[in-house]
């Protein structure tokens, strides 16, 4: 995929760090000389609800929001959230999801069941799915909170026209200096998957 028209959807559960991922991708796009817009959800949904963040990169971007069938790639922090937002992916689009499961309250209370076949369902949909336990990978790099950067690392390998150096520079600009080591490791772990 190329950055002249690239819609990236980031989905997860409130508090998982989707906002930092969008800041990072925004910085990458800016340094690559592209137009970029980001749309975030603040407020109520951040309290453990389902959250979605959009990053749109291109020659000229109008709407900051990715709508149904418009995402080229989806970064998902939690597998159920990948399934919930799959309709926002273009036909045959790319899904990069962590296999982590976080039970919604309806499941905790026994009113609903966490579906067993999520990754399979995603694969059968026709999407190109990369699924792995990004939470464990992030923990191995030093912090479970670095899932966002692991997923961005995977994405970085797929975007053909933005050199690795720009991603690294952008990461330096995005994360606090004392956390750079962990995040750089997380980025590499994702990129080398």
């Amino acid at each position: 995929m190329k950055s002249d028209n690239l819609n990236i959807l980031i989905v997860g559960v409130g508090g998982q760090g989707t906002l930092l991922a969008s800041k990072f991708l925004g910085a990458v796009a800016g340094m690559a000389g592209r137009d970029v817009k980001v749309s975030e959800v603040h407020g109520m949904s951040q309290r453990g609800g389902s959250v979605i963040t959009c990053v749109k990169i291109g020659e000229k971007v109008y709407s900051p929001v990715i709508d149904l069938g418009e995402a080229d790639v989806m970064l998902s922090f939690e597998q159920l959230e990948a399934a919930r937002w799959i309709g926002y992916l273009k036909k045959g689009g790319k899904v990069i999801t962590s296999t982590q499961k976080i039970e919604p309250m309806s499941v905790v209370l026994g009113q609903a069941v966490y579906p067993a076949n999520v990754i399979e369902g995603l694969e059968k949909s026709g999407a190109d799915v990369t699924a792995f336990d990004a939470f464990s990978v992030a923990e191995e790099c030093g912090s479970g909170k670095a899932v966002n950067i692991v997923l961005c690392g995977v994405l970085s390998k797929l975007v053909e026209d933005i050199p690795e150096e720009i991603w690294r520079e952008a990461l330096k600009k995005t994360v606090p200096a004392k956390l750079l080591d962990i995040n750089m490791k997380a980025f590499e772990a994702g990129r080398n998957r």
Binding site: V38, S39, Q111
Partner: protein, 593 residues
């Protein structure tokens, strides 16, 4: 992107625009999606900009009005429902006009991401005769905010800068500029600033004259370097093609959907430009208005006798988007992925965080089977499963007065359990507009119980200081409103302060208060679990040997307590903060650290 450009949040760009325009005073009450504007302002040097969290939007607006009269450019920021609270000063300061520039930033929330209704601010503007600018990205947030101050001074009027959630919470590229501070001398002028009937009658004439000047300016008649940012972009052979009239975020959606159309992009959505609309309509084929919420622009165009389509295509419910606009006009469903086989996806609404003090409150209230009038804040989630403890939510402060109304009505109707009605309200919301309601309870011999959830912060909007905390927006220490003394001072002596995590004591306090035939206040005091200084010392765990899987702990509705597929109950260490609320609920004492 040029190296001198940066990616900036819409709200931050409004703050930047105000800063560059030389704003000196900013007063606001937090409210999604407007909160970050004032937070960003507070990061500028205190010597350059005075800013404050006011107790509510009315007070914020009046602070800004006073500051404008004094000669300093001033701004107040609020969400759409906040303008209802600030409507009183807005309508009359439309009559007085301003001295230095005065801007009301109002953020509407189509789609209700974090709101209780979808009202459309433009109708307030129409009714108050106040102009409305609507930016569509961060660059325009800066430019239009600066322009708003200029319009305010040139036309002697407050100006509304209207945002919607998608503009406030998008990031796009901007270039920042220098700050310049135009200060006006203060001049006493009662015929302009003291609105009594004789003066107001004269000022109403001024409002109408100003309205005509604004309409002319919207039609392209510039005044003192003020050019209204209404822009026409004609397509080739425009008469054969669709013409779109739109503004704000709807412009961005429309540009993606209608590749071959002509556009009239309105920067000023009130007053509307009759001349430009007539000219545009005459030069395009089918005329379409793309607008969210109410048909404000469409109705105006219809009064001109021009044929136009708007709400016949696009809903007034929720927000629009590229898919909705495309589907409405072209009838085309999005070409998107669908799950290969039916996977039932359980919803994931927001929940009380692990360690949240509200969880204990609603666990107890739900068990007691009381009628509960709720209020605006995180704790409105007490209406959801597993608590289902709240009966009604209307607006800021309404819990206290609704509970009073309920108990009075039930007394009149001879209901014996009338006392079993309580109001639940957060500390910041209580100060916003619960105090006057509580005075009503005391003054009019009410007997309802008001439970103030004092979590030492304004929580839902992302942690803003409030008067009960004793800290200002810039974290300077200040006096703290003493809630106990306040209740006493208005005549309520039955006041209990209790920690809701001591659920037995909390339950006793509520039981006692609702059984007594006098008005009462319970202050449930425990800080928000997300505050940095709140440390519970790490996750708890369940001893699976002792656990009998009775599920008592799960009824708390804590996101950290889960049941595994084999039926065992576990605590997720990545979510548990170790607050210990569940310890006492376990009949086998199986939960510990």
């Amino acid at each position: 992107m040029n190296s001198d450009m940066e990616l900036m949040l819409g709200n931050e760009a409004v703050a930047r625009g105000a800063y560059e325009a030389g704003v000196i005073t900013v007063a606001s009450y937090p409210g999604t999606p407007s909160t970050e504007i004032t937070e960003c302002i507070s990061k500028y040097d205190a010597g350059e900009v005075y800013c404050e969290w006011a107790p509510n939007e009315k007070v914020a607006a009046e602070v800004a009005i006073g500051s404008s009269f004094a000669g300093a450019r001033s701004m107040c920021c609020m969400k759409h429902v906040g303008l209802n609270v600030a409507a009183d000063p807005l309508y009359t300061c439309s009559y007085t006009g301003v001295n230095a520039g005065l801007v009301f930033v109002v953020a509407d929330d189509p789609g209700m991401f974090s709101s209780q209704n979808e009202q459309d601010t433009r109708f307030h503007a129409l009714s108050a005769h106040v102009p409305v600018l609507e930016p569509s990205d961060s660059e325009e947030c800066i430019r239009f905010t600066k322009l708003a101050f200029d319009i305010s001074e040139v036309f002697d009027t407050p100006v509304i800068l209207r945002l919607t959630t998608r503009v406030a919470h998008q990031r796009s590229l901007v270039k920042t500029g220098p700050r310049s501070v135009p200060v006006k001398p203060y001049k006493k002028d009662v015929w302009k600033y003291a609105m009594m009937p004789a003066m107001a009658k004269k000022r109403h004439l001024v409002v109408d004259e100003r309205q005509k000047r604004l309409e002319n300016c919207a039609c392209g008649l510039d005044e003192q370097n003020v050019t209204i940012p209404n822009v026409i972009e004609y397509a080739e052979n425009s008469k054969e093609k669709v013409g779109i009239i739109t503004y704000g975020i709807c412009y961005q959606y429309s540009k993606e959907v209608f590749k071959d159309a002509s556009f009239l992009k309105l920067g000023l959505t009130y007053p509307l430009s009759e001349k430009l609309i007539r000219e545009f309509a005459a030069n395009v084929g089918k005329l379409i208005v793309v607008e969210e919420l109410e048909p404000f622009i469409e109705n105006y165009i219809k009064t001109l006798g021009i044929e136009v389509t708007g709400k016949a295509l696009f809903t007034n419910q929720g927000e629009l988007g590229t898919a909705a606009v495309r589907k409405a006009y072209y009838g085309k469903d999005p070409d998107c992925e669908k799950l290969g086989e039916a996977v039932a996806i359980p919803p994931r609404p927001p929940v009380f965080c692990a360690g949240c003090p509200h969880r204990a409150v609603f666990y107890v209230l739900s068990k007691m089977g009381l009628r509960v009038c709720g209020d605006i804040g995180c704790y409105s989630m007490g209406a959801q499963a597993p608590y289902a403890a709240i009966d009604a939510v209307i607006c800021m402060g309404a819990s206290v007065s609704m509970a009073h109304g309920m108990t009075k009505a039930m007394a009149q109707c001879g209901e014996l359990d009338r006392q079993k009605t309580v109001a639940v309200i957060g500390d910041s919301t209580f100060i916003h507009s619960g105090i006057t309601s509580l005075i009503d309870v005391a003054y009019n011999k009410g007997i309802s119980t008001t439970i103030i959830l004092d979590n030492s912060i304004t929580g839902m909007t992302g942690h803003q200081q409030n008067p009960a905390m004793g800290f200002t927006i810039r974290n300077e220490q200040t006096v703290a409103t003493d809630l106990v003394k306040l209740a006493n001072a208005i005549g309520i002596t039955d006041v209990t302060v209790v920690d809701p995590f001591d659920m037995k004591a909390f339950r006793e306090a509520v039981k006692g208060a609702t059984e007594r035939d006098n008005p009462s206040v319970i202050i449930a005091q425990r800080p928000c679990a997300l505050l940095k200084y709140v440390k519970y010392g790490g996750p708890a765990h369940i001893d699976t040997e002792k656990c009998i899987r009775c599920g008592s702990c799960m009824r708390l509705g804590c996101p950290a307590i889960n049941k595994k597929e084999d039926g065992s109950i576990v605590i997720d260490p990545s979510q548990c903060v170790g607050c210990g609320l569940c310890f006492g609920l376990c009949p086998k004492s199986a939960i510990s650290k």
